[in-house]
């Protein structure tokens, strides 16, 4: 037993010792042990990872400098090795920065910052440098030309694997044709077996960074792959934010409490967290009081007919203040108390203070602290039958309840609430028994003020209920118990006590946990999204348009949401048809903070979400109704966050975080709805064409046959054909709240139509037209004139999922096709 305890006490020391030991492992050894996590577990993959890290770095560097990225990637075979060259047009790099950026593993300021950026763990490019050095023995060769300088600087950098310290081996001036930028050259043991993944990575990077120009040369390509930019707009600049109260864990909170310079909890909350002002801090503190101190139960003060009398109780408690002042004080307290339906001890103390001050002003007598305390005790005794030092005397005097000295004055009060909370089904004896049992349990609360936390209240109610069940054979079910708890809790009051100071919470794990709970239960505005740079739906679509020759594109950007205090935004895009191969399952492009994810598709949350969507509803083929859909489609999903949760350090797959999965689903469904309406429109046009084809063949044959049978010349069937083919179509499209009726006139005359849409919810934002409310049904009416070969869109907005019924007048029914 003792040894176990001493272990716990020494825990911190042991951890430090272990950490010390770990530092003694050489960096090479560390890399060797962890290379699967870092994405360098094979030569094929190592090359892709190195390209990925270097390109991510280059994109970040150029964007930070406000330059549209122009990135060149080259892979060459050099003897037994491969040489990787990445050039950017960024701001270049100084000799001082060099070791920090390229040299030291696990260096990087981003690990602590809450800001959206590509390289989140600060592990990337330095791992590539180390990998190249370990496999080829060659240093990293870096050329840099800061803007405005006439010459470039050439460095060779090697990492001392014993000390994890970078060393600059060469430093000389050189010439370079780029006006500014950085070039890094790495030689490594590798192979091109992952060529497809490499191409995918570069192509997908182009899709998701439509503002970047990319070029890739590698030995297997006859022509370099070039990706031109689709926009000159740089992504919005991001800013760092403080953590959000909903996003910290207990350990982090304690560290923050220890480190803060704030003295009060309110100051701490406002200083260290985003979205917390004075008001929010107060709400958090109120919630904190409720969990830390508990609330005070409130009780009904005695009414006129009760034997308990506050005025006389209070006046008895006051001595030596003169009859006039005493009476005024007692009457004042009694009257104010009487104005309250329910009262807590703290509220009574407030009342006593207020009345005492008034009476002091009026009479010149002083009501000191002791007198006030005695008055509160006496008054509280009159309300609840308990309080102060006289408790035993009061109980034994039998003054309060001559008929039933056993019954506490709390019982009728408890009875009233229990009766109300348990509704009508309970018989009176059971309610009475429950009230008595519960009142006894309230009597057992420490102190006079009946302070209890919600958990404690629940426990007492449950305990009373099981007592009643045992003794009186009357069940008080879970719902009834919850109602009883709610009845008391909602009438209990938050205590006025000041919350403990930051220092003492920092030293008290339970108090810190209470504070965390209070932070989590308080409604707080979602974190600001200035720290995020979504691509925007428009550019998601532009990116797809640029790289995929399709018939249809759609994209959606969701509003920012929060997971664990980190804001995130999900965007989705879909391209369909055209040159996209139709045979296999759809292509899924996954992006996190604008970085394509190439490996571990099966382990990714995005894949899981796509698989569980019912794609048949959206017009894609999905064998068995679940799993990856088939067809000529590309789905792209981008998650931008200050902290993208990955399944591992190699950042290949998004972890299954429910909040993020929900948003992915909503974004994909939003884009998919557009796809569905495109496909259904295309289908209906196709059916229309097929109908025209078939009828165009059948009707002349039928006409021939009837003329043969009747022996008359062949009739002119153009009129009949025109009537069938050249019709007016009315088609409904519902997109969220927006309802669009598209009227197309395929006939050769102007059509004056009267279109009435009967909607079961109130429509707003009408495109001209009129609306009439008919007893909960709204008749929306337009009278459009549609010229031959033209179309009109009639729109309005409507909430929820209403029913529609459209009727069209002004055109013969056989000329009308309604697709409702």
């Amino acid at each position: 037993m003792t040894s176990f305890q001493s272990t716990i006490g020494d825990e911190e020391g042991i951890a430090e010792e272990l950490a010390e030991g770990q530092r003694e492992i050489s960096i090479a050894e560390f890399f060797e042990k962890n290379k699967h996590m870092l994405g360098f577990d094979s030569g094929a993959r190592g090359l892709v990872t190195a390209v990925k890290e270097a390109v991510d770095n280059a994109l970040d560097a150029t964007e930070e400098a406000g330059v549209l990225p122009d990135i060149y990637i080259e892979i060459e075979e050099v003897g037994d090795y491969y040489r990787l060259v990445i050039e950017d047009n960024g701001p270049g790099i100084t000799k001082e920065q060099l070791p920090k950026v390229f040299g030291k593993l696990l260096y990087g300021s981003r690990f602590h910052a809450r800001e959206q950026s590509r390289g989140q763990q600060g592990i990337g490019i330095s791992a590539a440098v180390l990998y190249s050095q370990l496999t080829s023995g060659q240093p990293a060769k870096i050329t840099s030309r800061p803007k405005g300088q006439s010459r470039a600087q050439y460095f060779e950098l090697i990492i001392d694997t014993d000390t994890n310290e970078p060393e600059i081996q060469a430093d000389e001036e050189t010439t370079w044709d780029r006006p500014h930028g950085t070039r890094i050259e790495l030689e490594m043991e590798a192979n091109m077996r992952a060529r497809q993944q490499l191409h995918d990575y570069v192509k997908h990077t182009a899709v998701v960074n439509p503002h970047a120009r990319l070029e890739l040369r590698e030995p297997g390509l006859d022509e370099p792959m070039k990706f031109e930019r689709a926009t000159d707009e740089l992504p919005a600049e991001t800013e760092e934010i403080r953590p959000h109260p909903h996003g910290v864990e207990l350990g982090t909170l304690i560290k923050m409490l220890e480190a803060t310079e704030s003295y009060s909890v309110s100051g701490f909350l406002q200083e260290e967290f985003t979205r917390v002002g004075k008001k929010t801090a107060d709400s958090v503190i109120d919630n904190f009081r409720d969990v830390y101190y508990g609330r005070e139960l409130s009780w009904s003060p005695p009414r006129a007919h009760d034997d308990r009398d506050i005025a006389s109780a209070v006046s008895e408690a006051v001595a030596n203040k003169g009859a006039e002042a005493t009476t005024a004080f007692a009457a004042g307290v009694a009257e104010t108390v009487g104005n309250n339906d329910r009262i807590t001890r703290s509220e009574l103390a407030d009342i006593v203070d207020n009345v005492a001050e008034t009476v002091e002003d009026d009479t010149g007598k002083t009501f000191g602290g002791t007198v006030r305390e005695n008055a509160v005790d006496a008054g509280w005794r009159a309300v609840t039958g308990r309080g102060g030092a006289d408790e035993e005397a009061a109980a034994s005097s039998g003054d309060g309840g001559a008929d039933d000295p056993e019954e506490s004055p709390l019982v009728p009060d408890v009875y009233a609430l229990v009766d109300e909370a348990t509704s009508t089904r309970k018989d009176d004896a059971a309610v009475q028994a429950m009230a008595e049992a519960l009142a006894r349990r309230f009597e057992n609360l420490d102190g006079d003020a009946f302070r209890t936390t919600r958990d404690d209240l629940e426990r007492r109610v449950a305990d009373a209920a099981s007592f009643v069940a045992e003794q009186h054979d009357a069940t008080v079910g879970e719902t009834a118990r919850e109602n009883v708890v709610a009845a008391f809790w909602s009438r209990a009051r938050t205590v006025p006590d000041d919350p403990p100071k930051v220092k003492s919470i920092a030293g008290d794990r339970d108090a810190a946990a209470d504070l965390l709970e209070a932070m989590r239960t308080t409604d707080i505005l979602a974190p600001p999204t200035g720290c995020l740079a979504p691509i925007t739906a428009e550019l998601v679509e532009a990116g797809l348009r640029k790289e995929y020759d399709a018939d249809f594109y759609a994209a959606a950007t969701r509003d920012a949401e929060v997971h664990g205090g980190d804001p995130f935004i999900v965007e989705a895009g879909i391209a369909y048809g055209g040159e996209i191969p139709a045979e296999a399952s759809v292509e899924l492009l996954r992006f996190a903070n604008r970085v394509p994810l190439v490996y571990q598709r099966g382990a990714c949350a995005t894949t899981d979400v796509i698989k569980q969507i019912g794609w048949r509803n959206y017009g894609l083929d999905q064998p068995g109704g679940s799993g990856m859909p088939n067809g000529p489609a590309v789905i792209s999903i981008h998650v931008a966050s200050t902290n993208v949760p990955f399944t591992s350090e190699s950042k290949d797959a998004l972890a299954n975080v429910p909040e993020i999965e929900d948003e992915i689903e909503l974004a994909v469904r939003e884009a998919a709805r557009e796809l569905e309406s495109f496909l259904s429109k295309r289908r209906s046009m196709q059916q229309r064409r097929e109908k025209q084809d078939v009828l165009g063949r059948i009707l002349p044959e039928m006409a021939d046959k009837v003329s043969e049978v009747t022996g008359r010349p062949r009739p002119d069937i153009d009129g009949a054909l025109a009537r069938i083919m050249n019709n007016v179509s009315v088609e409904r499209e519902v997109n969220g709240e927006a309802v669009t009726l598209t009227v197309e006139n395929h006939s050769d005359v102007n059509e004056e139509l009267e279109i009435t849409d009967i909607v079961s919810a109130e429509p707003t934002d009408l495109s001209d037209g009129t609306v009439v409310d008919m007893d909960g049904e709204w008749f929306v009416q337009w009278k459009p004139e549609v010229p031959s070969g033209d179309e009109r869109e009639l729109t309005y907005a409507v909430d929820g999922d209403p029913e529609f019924e459209v009727s069209v007048g002004g055109v013969e029914t056989e000329k009308l096709t309604v697709n409702d």
């Binding site: 046959k705 009837v706 049978v709 009129g719 009949a720």
Partner: protein, 361 residues
């Protein structure tokens, strides 16, 4: 009814209707009564059930409708030519013959489709398919009894006595019984029998001779020719008609189609139905009274009985009482279950008792 040249004219008129619709610039269409249970009505005057006022339209506005009308045009041509040549063909032959048409779209996909189309043409033109010279695959059933008739056959006239000139099988009813002329008879009543086994039992026991009965074999759901001939026995020879079937819901429908007309051919009810025909048994009440061997009602039997309670043709006190009783006892019995009382029970006891009750003998 119609003559052959009338039939041809009616068909050509229908084609001319389509022609005129084309010529007027409108979409060809053909309107038919809706052929469902809810659209048959009792005709007070004739005492049979015919189609009500609801109609369906086959229009060339849709691909399906246009294909149907194209097939109709081809079929009209075929039927008109057949009438010109004084040939005849079976419904099945029509189905196969469509394969030879020059237009793939006009060919029938199934025999049901061609059968339905011929019925549509009957309804629209008011000409029976017999007058189109179309006949069903299986011919009418058989008659045995004291009747002398003359039949117009392809090979000339034949005079036949339906007891003396025929074998044990009886006289075969031709496809178009309107080619028969009744010459003489000693018959007292007509007994329509559902199953072949029971018919053979009656003939073997000499029931037709003993009671001067015309025993008509229905053979399940009776062919049009059988129903037509039964109606002619009633109308022209003034003979009472009784129907003898199994005691189950499907057999009541057989009785229904003899007496009231069937839903599919309600347009011909006045020509085919014998509203005076009465049901002799097996009645649910007989199952109880004679304690007949029985089978329990299956779910589909119960559904059929309940659907009959809603069938306008069965909404009479007699049928409601019998059907409710059957649902109550939950049993059904076959005609031949009467053999449990001996082979002669049906001819010596059951039928004479029932016919007596009904006042037929």
């Amino acid at each position: 009814m119609t003559t052959e040249s009338d039939a041809r004219d009616e068909l050509i008129d229908l084609a001319a209707d389509f022609y005129d619709q084309f010529a007027a610039g409108s979409i060809p269409e053909m309107t038919l009564p809706t052929r469902t249970k809810s659209n048959i009505e009792y005709d007070e005057e004739s005492g049979v059930w015919t189609y009500g006022d609801r109609t369906s339209t086959r229009s060339a506005n849709s691909v399906r409708g246009a294909r149907k009308l194209l097939k109709a045009a081809y079929t009209i041509e075929f039927l008109a030519n057949q009438l010109d040549d004084d040939r005849s063909s079976t419904l099945r032959e029509l189905y196969y013959l469509s394969e030879s048409w020059d237009n793939d779209e006009a060919q029938f996909n199934s025999q049901d489709e061609s059968n339905d189309l011929v019925e549509d043409l009957e309804i629209v033109t008011g000409v029976t398919r017999e007058d189109f010279h179309m006949r069903p695959e299986e011919s009418g059933a058989k008659v045995m009894g004291p009747l002398l008739l003359r039949e117009q056959t392809n090979r000339g006239e034949r005079e036949i006595h339906c007891q003396l000139d025929v074998g044990q099988g009886g006289y075969q009813i031709p496809n178009n019984p309107d080619t028969i002329e009744f010459l003489d008879n000693d018959a007292e009543f007509v007994l329509c029998v559902e199953t072949g086994g029971m018919r053979d039992r009656l003939v073997e026991n000499g029931f037709d001779e003993a009671h001067d009965a015309l025993v008509v074999h229905l053979g399940g759901q009776p062919a049009r020719a059988t129903r037509r001939l039964t109606k002619r026995f009633r109308d022209e020879l003034d003979l009472p008609v009784v129907v003898f079937t199994d005691g189950d819901p499907w057999s009541y429908r057989i009785y229904g189609s003899v007496a009231y007309g069937s839903i599919k051919s309600a347009h011909l009810s006045k020509y085919l139905a014998t509203p005076e025909a009465r049901f002799i048994g097996i009645q649910p009440e007989d199952i109880v009274e004679y304690d007949l061997p029985s089978d329990p009602l299956s779910d589909s039997d119960i559904n059929a009985l309940e659907s009959e309670l809603e069938d306008p043709r069965f909404q009479t006190d007699y049928w409601e009482e019998q059907i409710e009783l059957q649902l109550d006892i939950g049993k059904k019995s076959e005609q031949q279950s009467l053999a449990s009382r001996g082979l002669d029970f049906v001819t010596d006891t059951y039928l004479p008792e029932r016919l007596g009750e009904m006042g037929v003998i």
